[in-house]
């Protein structure tokens, strides 16, 4: 039996369906991320797991027990909010102790557990501080300790890193993940940041407009997107217009240059115009390597980003971005220089028809 199960979950507000037919089974100890743009229903789904919203239809089970209609304070769930939500009138220690105190634990047990938790988040000296005396990253670690102190069955993280600086975001990301692994706690993480989702998760649930678009491991979602939305939302993508020459062999032309598309969503009909997708990192400049697709173009733009040089190459109507690593021995080409770009057929993905 799966540890956390969401079965046919639906949420309707008046005329709006916010979440539609959401099915998910999460293993004990698994780290699952809900990824999607704002308004896609990911937060609503999380809030239904927490008990702040009641599903219009469907069931939620934790460890085999139906919790669909249980109040939040009876679910034994830990939650971390985007804006920390520490109680401003309590010290760090009192914040961490809150869940234990309302559960009626002895003050001795509470003190011991609070000490443990402060050690876990590496803020053992901060027990007497008030939230306003802490940095954002420290506050969020305290919030994490507070959520974990009650030994919850499930940990919910609602965009916990969005309010933080880039640097702290990165280090806290790793800290959360390693803490989660060592405690083996089943975790649902909500974010709109695909990089966070890709780097942290065991599995990602990509959502759009209330629907689940794809569920899979990061590698799978990134490399084998099943819908146009997933392809364009996860990672950066060049979208080109191509005309199908021979659907059976995947031959298409882009601005009259013929290439082979190795993968396709749906069947290709000869003569139809389709969108094709190509990741910037799968394109090589000037035929380095033996890639079977090659196209001629002109450098339109060069941006030096440091480790990476991003270039824009125009064919005729279409243009692509491509990334090359910085090489001190080989300065990037000038604007206007003619170049050849090459890529493998399996990197070129024909997306599903526009009508969808």
């Amino acid at each position: 039996m799966k540890f956390l199960e969401l079965e046919g979950i639906q949420k309707v507000y008046g005329p709006n369906t916010v979440v539609q037919d959401f099915n998910l089974s999460v293993d004990k100890g698994e780290f699952v991320t809900f990824l999607g743009p704002s308004g896609c229903g990911k937060t609503t789904t999380l809030r239904m797991i927490a008990g702040f919203e009641i599903p219009s239809a469907g069931a939620i089970r934790i460890n085999g027990k139906d919790v669909t209609n249980l109040k939040p304070n009876q679910r034994q769930i830990g939650m971390v909010f985007q804006a920390y939500a520490l109680f401003p009138n309590m010290t760090v220690a009192d914040n961490v102790a809150f869940g234990l105190k309302v559960a009626g634990q002895s003050s001795e047990a509470i003190r011991k557990r609070v000490g443990e938790m402060l050690d876990v988040i590496k803020l053992p000296q901060f027990g007497d501080r008030y939230p306003y005396q802490l940095s954002g990253g420290q506050q969020q670690r305290v919030a994490l300790a507070r959520a974990l102190a009650i030994k919850p069955q499930v940990l919910l993280l609602d965009e916990p890193l969005s309010a933080l600086d880039a640097k702290i975001r990165l280090s806290l990301r790793e800290e959360i993940r390693s803490l989660q692994r060592s405690l083996g706690i089943t975790t649902i993480f909500v974010t709109h940041d695909q990089e966070e989702a890709l780097s942290m998760s065991d599995r990602i649930v990509v959502m759009n407009e209330g629907r689940v678009e794809q569920i899979g491991a990061p590698f799978e979602v990134y490399n084998f997107p099943r819908t146009r939305f997933v392809a364009s939302f996860v990672g950066t993508l060049n979208i080109l217009r191509g005309k199908v020459v021979d659907g059976a062999s995947g031959r298409i032309t882009i601005d009259d240059q013929q290439v082979i598309a190795g993968r396709s969503m749906g069947n290709l009909q000869n003569g139809e115009v389709r969108s094709v997708a190509l990741r910037p990192e799968s394109v090589t400049l000037n035929g380095a390597g033996e890639k079977r697709n090659a196209m001629q173009g002109i450098i339109e733009e060069v941006s030096f980003l440091g480790a990476v040089v991003r270039m824009r190459v125009r064919f005729r109507d279409n243009a692509i971005s491509l990334d090359t690593f910085n090489n001190p021995g080989a300065p990037p080409p000038e604007r206007g220089a003619p170049v050849t770009v090459s890529f493998q057929p399996e990197d070129l993905l024909v997306l599903e028809g526009e009508t969808h």
Partner: protein, 302 residues
């Protein structure tokens, strides 16, 4: 333009003076008119009365005026004033907070809140003489509510000993501006309660009561305390409503002072000063207590 040339003088410090000292003093000139106004028309008159309270008619130091405050009629006036102010402040604080909470926290229709705030803005300023008229027309001997109660419910309000010109009458009247004032102050404070705090406490297992006990009330406490104090001072210093309602028949300290200023009813000019000093002392001490309570209990405030 006069102010322009004057202002340029501010901008360009006089040359001979050392630079640092001159920037310091020139910056102060910007607030001099305000400080002069405050000293002349706010602080000095108050100090004048305080000093006068400790002087006899010849200007010698004495504590006799303060000792004279102990006469029964004055003590009674202070007591009734304090009772009315405290009662109307506490009741106003309770009802005002409850109404504000009802409008802010629960999903009542959206039009309610702006309506309530606008109305509170009006009602909190609708004090003084007209308010007395309104309550005479409502709960006076010939007032509408008195009449309706008597005619349709057979309930004679005045036979119960109720009198608009009494402690409870005045308190009920004062609540007409106290409650809206509380609503106006508490609404932004209640808005400051983040939804996440409630959710965080719920998910940690706390009941609604525990949320209020451990989180919401402690967070609101400074605002509650400060607002209640303001209500107290507001009622304590009120003259017009009581005067228009009761003439000088109700013996509260502001009316006593009013009569004293009008004509020397206490037969000792400096006793009037002492009376005023007593009022300043009471509002001053209550403010001091408030500041002390806050600094002691609210270490979490920035």
């Amino acid at each position: 333009m006069v102010d322009q040339s004057e202002a340029q003088a501010i901008a360009i410090p006089a040359q001979p003076a050392p630079a640092r000292a001159s920037t310091f003093s020139w910056a102060w000139i910007g607030v001099t008119p305000f400080l002069a106004f405050a000293v002349l028309f706010l602080i000095a008159p108050t100090l004048f009365l305080i000093v006068g309270a400790f002087q006899d008619a010849q200007g010698h130091f004495t504590l006799a005026n303060l000792a004279d405050l102990a006469q029964p009629s004055i003590v009674r006036a202070y007591r009734i004033s304090l009772e009315i102010s405290i009662t109307s402040a506490i009741l106003g604080a309770i009802f005002g907070s409850l109404i504000a909470a009802a409008a802010v926290l629960n999903g009542l229709p959206g039009w309610l809140r702006p309506t309530l705030l606008t109305f509170s803005g009006v009602a909190s300023q609708f004090a003084g003489v007209p308010l007395a008229f309104a309550f005479l027309a409502t709960l006076g001997r010939t007032g509408l509510v008195t009449y309706l109660l008597n005619t349709y419910l057979g309930f004679n309000l005045y036979s119960t000993g109720f009198n608009l010109l009494s402690f409870w009458g005045l308190t009920i009247t004062y609540l007409y501006f106290q409650i809206p004032l509380m609503i106006l102050i508490m609404t932004p404070a209640l808005d400051g309660l983040k939804r996440e705090w409630r959710e965080a406490s719920a998910i940690l297992g706390a009941s609604t009561w525990q949320y209020w006990r451990y989180v919401a009330l402690p967070v609101l406490w400074p605002s509650l305390l400060g607002a209640t104090l303001l209500l107290f001072a507001n009622a304590f210093g009120a003259v017009a409503t009581a005067y228009a309602l009761t003439g000088s028949s109700l013996n509260i300290v502001t009316i006593l002072l009013f009569a004293q200023i009008r004509g020397d009813v206490l037969h000792n000019a400096n006793l009037g000063y002492a009376l005023a000093f007593g009022m300043i002392l009471i509002t001053g001490v209550s403010n001091g207590a408030y500041i002390w309570l806050r600094s002691r209990g609210e270490r979490w405030l920035k």
